[in-house]
Symmetry: C2
């Protein structure tokens, strides 16, 4: 049982709250019972305090990696989020190469350019999973999907579909097009209204959606590279949608159009 917050093993896990340490060591922390359950087959080690060990004995019994008992103080020191609920694990990074993620004739792909809020990124991952997307790509300059807030917001979806982290946007668009996807950029000033695309049946085609930064939107480069710039209709007085809400509207519009078209 590990009780010292200052022990080298504890410090080694704590360092993983920093993106640079995660990238150097190729591993990240998965907090709370839900995420630990989803990640279980991949986990390298699990840490659990006494009360969580009792609550989750079945879960822990199915772990194939070492399980270490720790004091609640150590557990809290290991965690980046305020309530890890007594259990966390260390997993290898999930990053998948672009070619592999887009290699199986994808029909729906979600690309985030410079999305900076990890909660938004995690919510988009969860929504993309629900909409049946084949992959999510976070291009260079986006938040790290392995950060604790993104992992939590993804509610397990990080393990449900291929996630690509860090490729340049140009390379991503080229790979998407090579995979037969129509590339649609979302922007408030887009020339094509989402409803018109739906009316014309164009969303039945295999599609990669591009979504931009929370404040700045997509870059000019992204808008130039895309096949179309699409505007989500705003019927009220909001200036725009939150990026996770925009992704929900577009990905579900595609999912329905592809289902009806199929």
């Amino acid at each position: 049982m590990l009780t010292s917050v200052r022990s080298p093993r504890v410090q080694a896990v704590r360092r993983l709250t920093r993106r640079s340490a995660r990238e150097a060591e190729g591993r990240f922390v998965v907090e709370g019972p839900q995420a630990v359950r989803e990640a279980l087959p991949w986990l390298l080690e699990v840490f659990v305090d006494a009360s969580a060990a009792e609550r989750h004995d079945e879960l822990l019994a199915s772990a194939t990696c070492p399980v270490t008992r720790v004091s609640t103080a150590v557990l809290d020191a290991l965690a980046d989020t305020p309530s890890p609920q007594g259990v966390l694990g260390v997993a290898p990074l999930l990053d998948v190469p672009l070619e592999r993620a887009l290699g199986q004739s994808p029909r729906l792909v979600c690309v985030l350019e410079a999305v900076s809020d990890p909660g938004n990124a995690g919510t988009v991952l969860r929504t993309a999973d629900a909409a049946g997307a084949d992959a999510v790509v976070l291009t260079r300059g986006s938040t790290d999907p392995h950060g604790s807030k993104c992992v939590r917001a993804s509610a397990g979806s990080l393990w449900h579909l291929p996630v690509v982290s860090g490729p340049p946007l140009v390379e991503t668009v080229r790979a998407a097009r090579a995979a037969g996807l129509s590339v649609l950029a979302t922007t408030g000033t887009g020339g094509d209204d989402l409803d018109d695309l739906l009316d014309r049946g164009e969303l039945a085609a295999p599609t990669a959606w591009l979504f931009g930064n929370e404040a700045a939107g997509l870059s000019d480069a992204a808008l130039r590279l895309a096949d179309r710039a699409v505007r989500i209709p705003v019927h009220g007085r909001a200036e725009s949608l939150n990026v996770a809400a925009a992704a929900a509207v577009c990905l579900y519009a595609s999912a329905r159009a592809q289902r009806v078209g199929a």
Copy 2:
């Protein structure tokens, strides 16, 4: 110029970070230039530091309430969010009575039951505004829409449509039905698939959507009171959608169906 963090005026504003103080005094704090701009006609007072006063001189010139210069230390002490960007205001609570919010033959209304995350509530407000909803109701037990995180996530939409805070769910559903709205409850186990409702044209009718708590979903009472329990199709392996993503999908499905049907 106000420079003491301990001055009674500063303390009076700081207290408004607590819901109980906001309710007792009938006012709340609006942080950052975007929110201050939206709220300007209603503001009771504005606080600004030197650098923001320079950046936003046109905005401040159009204020009809007192504008007080404060030190940056005081501004930060007044604010609940980490980066108020040098300016904030105090506004009367926005709460509108249920009868008034639903009094103008509404076609699309969004009801949140026990939604606890203020960021989710604010994102739903912004999405409801964008989808052209006529009102948003947060029933008793939901987060306060006047909290700083909700105000920020709403990105100004709090001032764009009537927001009702605190009525009991039963009363809300009764009022919605009396206003001619079909009441649809969202739940993962709903008997009606959203796509099927769309196929049958049922979303063209005036609709109140009910969305539930992030963890527990809608209460059994809400499911019983609604006309239909609707399930958003999950094509992948996600267990469910985040409440703000679910609201985006449903509200935009209604907005499109009502537009096509009209």
